[in-house]
């Protein structure tokens, strides 16, 4: 099965109104080439799930600036003024989620869990509308799984079978998001032959990878 496709072919899997998870932390570990192609294609009304909305000219922020999102679920939007402006003008719905909770909600979806219990957010606006569950005298919020139609992942290396190696702090949300979407598209800096990656260096096993694109290609 050939999973290696062109960036254009990959982006054709993303349609108006879809929910898209995008890896990265303040644009470190964000699949920039896939984001650029998505900006070029101009699909609209996306629900974007990401740690943050990057910057106006870098990372996920470019999609917000191009008004392609109807909703953003993120832990931080402060580095991209346009996200805040669109939110204040009522053009964009923004749901702010504590970072660790967001990671666990995505993980729950990918790992087949019905939700997770966390103390984070108890006694704050984050608890509004959520079920509280007490376990051994500690109060937790029930946070529900978050999944997506498509996940866009940034890898250091991917082999042709789809095994992923990530580099340093470019991991962040990528390995978790790779488990929680129907279609997982990986942009790798380098595509290597199957067998070149040591199984112990593989953080995301090939079974999660739907497609990969060569992010190192000019």
């Amino acid at each position: 099965m050939n999973k290696l496709i062109s960036i254009d072919e990959a982006i054709n899997h993303i349609e108006d109104g879809m929910t898209v998870m995008i890896g990265g932390f303040l644009a470190v570990g964000t699949p920039e080439k896939l984001v650029d192609a998505l900006v070029e294609k101009g699909v609209k009304d996306l629900t974007i799930i990401a740690n943050d909305t990057g910057f106006v000219d870098k990372g996920i922020g470019k999609l917000v600036v191009n008004k392609q999102a109807k909703k953003v679920i993120a832990s931080h939007i402060g580095t991209n003024k346009e996200t805040g402006r669109q939110m204040n003008e009522g053009e964009l719905e923004v749901q702010l989620v504590p970072q660790g909770t967001l990671a666990e909600q995505i993980r729950a979806a990918g790992y087949g869990l019905g939700g997770i219990l966390t103390s984070t957010g108890v006694g704050t606006v984050v608890e509004e509308g959520k079920k509280k569950i007490e376990v051994d005298g500690v109060e937790y919020l029930l946070e529900l799984p978050i999944k997506a139609d498509v996940a866009l992942i940034k890898a250091d290396k991917v082999d042709k079978k789809g095994n992923i190696r990530y580099n340093k702090t470019a991991k962040n949300f990528n390995p978790i998001m790779a488990t929680a979407a129907d279609i997982v598209i990986v942009e790798a800096e380098k595509i290597v032959e199957t067998g070149e990656l040591d199984p112990d260096d593989v953080m995301t096993p090939n079974i999660f990878t739907t497609y990969m694109v060569d992010g190192g290609a000019k």
């Binding site: 470190v28 832990s75 402060g78 666990e104 704050t124 340093k168 991991k171 962040n172 390995p175």
Partner: protein, 219 residues
């Protein structure tokens, strides 16, 4: 003291709270300075919530690794013996009680140990990032901040801004003193340089209990 001297004083005093072997997360801004004042003989591991332990110094210009940044998005280095991980592990470390101390700034703190540092409704809504998890998960929560904002107290009877977490703050360190959050209320344990108890009281809205063993802040 000018602004930088104030920040340095606070950071130096916070550094004295950290012990050999501690795992520590520093917030963005003033707390970041704390790393500069850890004595050589003390081994503190800094955790960065974007996904690593072993925060090293800033890289030289031209030697940045695009895949190594801190939680503020600045390029940094990872010390020998450091380790990287994904956001799941990172917040497992944080929520799971594996972080000994977190140092954060604040917009407001109150006598109940409540902290508000993530938004001003209608004005500034950057999002909480990892702050809510850090404050709930770290064993010790140290607020490091200037005592007042443009002359207005930040240590209040009750926070008026949306909370980051309820009742989690353990220690407040400012240029005017060191204040411990206890079951009985806020206890002033140390006085900053060149200030009196009356000065601190006047700059603090919350009730202060003055420690019987009140000391001068040493850094």
């Amino acid at each position: 003291m000018d602004k930088n001297q104030i920040k340095e004083l606070i950071a130096k005093r916070v550094a004295k709270e950290l012990h050999d072997g501690d795992v520590v997360n520093l917030g963005i801004g003033l707390p970041t300075l704390v790393a500069n004042f850890i004595p050589d003989e003390i081994d503190v591991t800094f955790q960065s919530e974007n996904g690593f332990v072993g925060l090293g110094p800033s890289p030289k210009e031209g030697e940045e690794d695009k895949d190594v940044s801190n939680a503020g998005g600045q390029y940094v280095t990872i010390k020998k013996g450091g380790a990287t991980f994904d956001s799941g592990v990172s917040f497992g470390i944080i929520r799971g009680g594996h972080v000994d101390a977190t140092v954060l700034g604040a917009l407001q703190v109150d006598g109940e140990g409540n902290l508000a540092n993530w938004m001003i409704p209608g004005k500034m809504v950057p999002g909480m990032g990892g702050a809510m998890d850090l404050v709930v998960g770290a064993k010790k929560v140290i607020v490091a901040m200037t005592h007042t904002a443009k002359g207005s107290p930040k240590i209040l009877k009750e926070c008026s801004l949306p909370l980051t977490a309820a009742g989690q703050v353990n220690l407040i360190i400012t240029e005017m003193g060191v204040i411990e959050v206890t079951d009985k209320g806020l206890v002033l344990k140390e006085l900053g340089p060149e200030v009196t108890v009356e000065d601190v009281k006047a700059a603090t809205e919350a009730e202060l209990i003055i420690s019987d063993d009140l000391k001068t802040m040493e850094v």
